[in-house]
């Protein structure tokens, strides 16, 4: 099993979620996060003063999937999240040892 973590622009969340649903991904965890990548932050002007905003608001999506689905999922997420502009985000894949469904005690892919 693999954990796919995607950092995306907040307004692309609906598209990414739709694309994952179409692939039959059954669950996901979403959090509001802040951070920066190569683009660093940006500057904002408010009430006559300029501020540098170091951390930009992003959405983090986490899904655990079967090994066989990794390529399709990556493709779907990247496709849905891409605007072509700087700051579109990143997706990475990490191996997962085991997963347990709390209600039934099922393990492994049965628990997904």
């Amino acid at each position: 099993m693999k954990l796919v973590t995607a950092i995306i622009k907040p307004f692309t969340l609906d598209d990414v979620k739709g694309a994952l649903e179409q692939l039959g991904v059954l669950g996901m965890t979403v959090s509001e996060v802040q951070g920066y990548g190569r683009q660093k932050g940006h500057t904002e002007v408010y009430r006559g003063a300029e501020y540098s905003v170091d951390f930009v608001p992003k959405i983090k999506i986490e899904v655990v999937i079967d090994d066989a689905a990794v390529e399709k999922v990556l493709e779907a997420v990247v496709e849905a999240a891409r605007t072509g502009k700087i700051g579109d985000g990143k997706v990475w894949v990490t191996p997962v040892d085991t997963v347990v469904r709390v209600r039934t005690g099922e393990r492994g892919t049965d628990a997904l």
Binding site: E44, Y46, G48, A49, V53
Partner: protein, 447 residues
């Protein structure tokens, strides 16, 4: 006595009283969510202290027999408002005790205005101490200079002398551009210097946590300001009508002026700018509302809106943390309104004086300038002295830890927004006995 006049002044007093809770919302919305209550409590604290002092010796210091030179009234002539309750005690066409109530709420709001300069970092007790000292040593004398007019007999001879700015100098300050706004604005600058910058200022943005509260506050202030300006006519008459209309149009023009500056300078017109523009316009028209025509009021408002919007950036250049722009709005707005009388006053308005642009020459302009800068200088120097007095005796500023975590929690044991928390405290089921001492001890251990 005139019942219509009396009813209007009583109503106006209630309107002006509402301005201070309104100010609490205006300021409260502008701070970060962790220090809303401390901000609002400074307004309520000013009500508590100044309202009581007003009845004890405040009114007397402002309006009793002049001690000499138009500088101060006898503080204890009407101690506890003694001798002012009889039906035949009149101020013009209204009972004196009604005038007492109207002027009481002016004293309260003036002190409360200062607090915006020291948001997020002032301890509550020392603020109350400062409020009492400042009202006594700065506001009461200055209000005497500006608001206490000579009493005259039927032939125009002075029977009882009042304050020097109102009478000898004859500067026009209808409702308090000098005594209220320049006065509070100069004190705000002094306290911003005494208390120093907030942790993280000016690098961190520190944006307002609730602009809806700011707009609510600005609305309440504007509503109450009709009592402030039109009520200062001290009668239900045409002067009240003219000042009322000027209080509308000048404020609208200032709102527009501020937003245009923001759009041009920053790219966007902000809600905070709209609310600030409202207050800037109200401040500027306060001294001028009886001496300009509605067109003059539009000019005064527009100029104030533009200049105040530019002035709020000064703190970054000079490095003083006037957190909520009391200097930029009240000191600058007060100066603009007070000085522009010298240019825009028209004898068609109730005050019947012509300024420079209406053929009156510079006579009124220099009187306005002397009045404005006398109040500015007196207030700034004494506020600085009183601020340092409080700072070096009981201490004025909260600890850095309290400021960073939450001054609301540290000073008032409350939070404005109690969201559920994993680490919320559990009750012990015991009533708190000798709460003060133990709470202080426990609070410092936990935080």
């Amino acid at each position: 006595m005139d019942t219509g006049d009396t009813a209007w002044v009583l109503t106006s007093a209630a309107l002006v009283l509402l301005m201070t809770p309104g100010l609490a919302f205006f300021y409260g919305g502008m701070v970060r969510s962790k220090s809303v209550l401390n901000m609002m409590m400074m307004s309520l604290g000013a009500m508590a202290v100044v309202g009581v002092l007003w009845a004890l010796y405040g009114y007397s210091t402002v309006f009793a027999t002049d001690l000499g030179g138009g500088l101060l009234g006898k503080p204890f002539e009407f101690f506890g408002l003694d001798g002012l309750l009889a039906a035949d005690q009149l101020s013009g066409t209204i009972p004196t005790i009604v005038f007492v109530s109207f002027q009481a709420v002016f004293a309260i709001i003036t002190v409360a205005l200062i607090s915006g300069a020291i948001a997020d970092r002032a301890r509550f007790g020392p603020w109350l101490l400062f409020a009492g000292l400042w009202a006594t040593i700065v506001y009461f004398p200055v209000a005497h200079w500006v608001f206490d007019f000579d009493a005259k007999d039927a032939d125009g001879n002075v029977t009882e002398a009042g304050g020097w700015i109102a009478n000898k100098l004859a500067a026009i300050d209808f409702a308090g551009g000098t005594a209220v706004h320049i006065n509070a604005g100069a004190a705000a600058l002094a306290l911003a210097i005494v208390l120093g910058k907030r942790v993280g200022w000016p690098k961190e943005p520190m944006k307002p946590h609730s602009l809806p509260l700011v707009v609510l506050g600005a609305g309440l202030l504007w509503f109450g300001w009709f009592g402030f300006n039109a009520g200062s006519a001290l009668g239900a008459n045409v002067t009240a009508g003219v000042t009322f209309v000027n209080t509308i149009v000048a404020t609208c023009a200032a709102l527009l002026g501020w937003l245009i500056v923001e759009r041009v300078r920053d790219g966007k017109a902000t809600t905070l700018g709209a609310a600030s523009g409202i207050v800037a316009g109200l401040v500027a028209i306060t001294p001028a509302c009886s001496s300009v025509t509605p067109l003059g009021a539009i000019a005064v408002g527009a100029i104030a809106g533009v200049l105040c919007a530019l002035a709020v950036s000064l703190k970054y250049r000079f490095g003083y943390d006037d957190s909520l722009d009391v200097v930029g709005v009240h000191l600058v707005g007060g100066l603009v309104g007070t000085l522009l009388i010298g240019l825009f006053a028209s004898d068609k308005a109730p005050a019947a004086v012509n300024g420079l642009f209406y053929g009156g020459g510079v006579d009124q302009l220099w009187r306005q300038a002397v009045g404005a800068f006398a109040v500015l200088g007196y207030s700034f120097v004494l506020s600085l002295a009183l601020g340092y007095l409080v700072k070096f005796t009981v201490g004025f500023r909260a600890s850095e830890e309290a400021e960073v975590s939450s001054i609301d929690e540290a000073e008032h044991a409350e939070r404005a927004y109690e969201y559920g928390s994993l680490t919320s405290a559990r009750g012990t089921g015991k009533a708190s006995v000798a709460a003060g001492a133990t709470a202080v001890l426990e609070g410092s251990n936990k935080s």
